[in-house]
């Protein structure tokens, strides 16, 4: 199903949807684009956010369950996910969600992840404004959204072309006949034009394709790269595919078992209680990160482990050339 949403009705649509679910949309917070709960703020579509909307599927502070103790006996209560709509998720981040669905879906499927995933409506946005570090066309993950969205919007002149991808998307169109207009052939032609322009605006970065990164990995001097890397883990916290986590307890005798994001680039990640550490050097950990992205995840899921969002390059304080893997200094 297709429809046209005039640009000045976007806020009305989100306001209407916000009456029965938590609407998350990109907005400016202290000058930066951030996916956050939307309460009528200006929507910021000028660039993709530095932090991916993964926060709403694998939160930094995810309560797995609450435990309460009564005379030495424990009982557990699981939180249930709230209904949520993520507006403005782009192709790279959708491809990341596809990979995470497979990773968290491998048996036994991760219940807390899918509880949130099933309660989340994805209103995607075809990416017509690629950032300077983006290379989704070279990694095969954009700029056009292919799959997984409930509703897909393309920003065209005077508004958005809306295309449905699931029953939830169809419901959004059907429940708001006052906001949507019929889509015209001209809207479709405009969509083709803006996507063609977006594609040509994206720099061709063949050296960043998975096949070429794998060649670079063969030649890389991991010890030297390990010395250049500052071991900060920033690249993993902004990556929409990275999903390492830790589990810990907060509270005695009653409290919460939490999981929080962790990163395989930190030395404590694989260290065992006795002190032995199978990946003792930063070079080994960096190599393992690349192997996971460019070999293990593609082998296991059939999908890309790197979705070309370029966020890791944006945050790298060591200014590593993450794709040629040549040592910079």
């Amino acid at each position: 199903m297709r429809a046209f949403l005039p640009g000045d009705r976007l806020k009305s649509l989100l306001t209407a949807l916000g009456t029965h679910m938590d609407v998350v949309a990109p907005q400016l917070v202290e000058g930066a684009v951030v996916f956050a709960s939307w309460k009528g703020q200006e929507i910021a579509l000028q660039e993709n956010s530095l932090l991916p909307p993964l926060e709403f599927l694998l939160p930094q502070r995810d309560v797995l369950f609450r435990y309460t103790q009564d005379s030495g006996r424990y009982s557990f209560v699981e939180p249930s996910a709230k209904f949520r709509l993520i507006f403005g998720i782009r192709s790279c981040d959708l491809c990341a969600v596809a990979a995470l669905d497979k990773i968290f879906g491998s048996a036994p499927a991760d219940h807390p992840y899918f509880d949130k995933r099933r309660s989340t409506v994805l209103v995607a946005l075809n990416c017509t404004r690629p950032g300077e570090n983006c290379f989704c066309s070279s990694s095969g993950s954009g700029p056009e959204c292919q799959d997984l969205f409930d509703l897909l919007l393309t920003e065209i002149r005077d508004g958005y072309l809306a295309e449905t991808g699931s029953p939830a998307g169809i419901m959004i169109l059907k429940e708001h006949p006052d906001l949507f207009l019929d889509a015209q052939e001209s809207h479709l032609a405009e969509k083709r034009d803006v996507l063609r322009n977006a594609n040509s605006a994206l720099p061709v970065r063949e050296e960043r394709s998975a096949a070429n990164v794998r060649v670079a990995m063969e030649k890389a001097d991991w010890d030297a790269l390990g010395l250049q890397c500052l071991n900060c883990g920033s690249c993993t916290f902004v990556c929409p595919v990275c999903h390492c986590f830790s589990i810990f307890d907060a509270g005695v005798p009653d409290g919460e078992r939490l999981r929080c994001r962790d990163t395989c680039l930190l030395s404590g990640f694989s260290r065992m209680a006795g002190g032995a550490n199978p990946r003792i050097s930063q070079g080994e950990r960096l190599h393992n990160w690349y192997l996971d992205k460019f070999e293990y995840i593609p082998q296991k899921t059939g999908l890309a482990g790197c979705v070309g969002c370029g966020r890791c390059s944006r945050v790298c304080l060591a200014q590593m050339d993450r794709w040629s893997l040549e040592v910079g200094r």
Binding site: R73, Y74, D110, H111, C244, F245, G251, G255, Q299
Partner: protein
């Protein structure tokens, strides 16, 4: 229900195995139907401290579920500071266990230090199903005689026709047995070519595997139980990655040819 929610289990017995290691017996609620294989592990929680992976040291052929806990960190300290009657959390069992259906009838079991805890499950399983196995030998080494686990069981194993060799790294006047490496025991034991199950420090695993291959064991017949840091037990958190494998789901038991490069 989420796989992260543990089952409350009560500590019903605590034995001291060595100065820093306790053998705890747990009672699992009947409605849980807990069943496991030798070589599998559970995630044990002390509420308020967190959760850690512990290999099951009892055999599924016996009623009592036992874990061997060595003081190694915050959570094992918390478990060891618990008393009979206290409640812990438990999830699992996780992992593949020893592939008994693929293993040959002749089995050598070699353990070093606390790595022997998971192998005791296999030894007692063999004792209880003795006719299903051929020549079985156990080679076990600890740092000192005080660090040896399960001393009261060796005689029973020998009575079941298992050749048992024990060694310590550092002997003293009270120790009349072998002093030296586990590898040294392999020349003294009655070894028949077959499968091997090894758990211990990497250096010990490599030297035992090398010696066994010299003696004609095939690399793919040598099974190693790998220790790794773990958080989830269900192959998601990525702490226990060994190449493309997750030790918690694809392991912890791997054939030696799969893990040789990381040992």
């Amino acid at each position: 229900m989420s796989q992260y929610i543990p089952v409350p289990v009560e500590i019903v017995d605590i034995d001291i195995e060595s100065p820093n290691t306790y053998l705890i017996t747990l009672e699992v609620p009947e409605e849980v139907h807990f069943s496991y294989k030798p070589g599998q592990f559970v995630m044990v929680s002390v509420f308020g401290l967190g959760e850690c992976p512990i290999s099951i040291t009892s055999s599924p052929t016996r009623k009592a579920l036992q874990l061997c806990i060595r003081r190694a960190g915050r959570i094992t300290n918390g478990i060891m500071d618990s008393r009979v009657g206290d409640v812990l959390g438990m999830r699992g069992p996780f992992g593949n266990g020893f592939p008994l259906e693929q293993m040959q009838k002749n089995i050598l079991i070699a353990g070093g230090g606390s790595g022997f805890a998971t192998l005791r499950s296999l030894v007692n399983y063999i004792v209880d199903r003795r006719s299903a196995f051929g020549d079985v030998a156990v080679a076990y080494g600890a740092r000192t005689a005080r660090d040896l686990y399960f001393m009261q069981e060796y005689e029973g194993w020998q009575k079941a026709g298992i050749d048992v060799g024990i060694t310590v790294d550092i002997g003293d006047e009270s120790w009349k047995g072998n002093v030296g490496l586990v590898t040294g025991l392999l020349d003294k034991l009655r070894l028949s070519k077959g499968s091997a199950a090894i758990c211990g420090p990497p250096i010990m695993i490599n030297s035992v595997a090398d010696k066994l291959m010299e003696k004609g064991f095939a690399r793919c017949d040598i099974y190693v139980s790998m220790e790794r840091h773990m958080k989830c037990g269900v192959g998601k958190c990525e702490h226990c990655m060994i190449g493309p494998h997750h030790a918690c789901q694809d392991g912890p038991v791997f054939s030696y040819d799969k893990v040789k490069s990381v040992l």
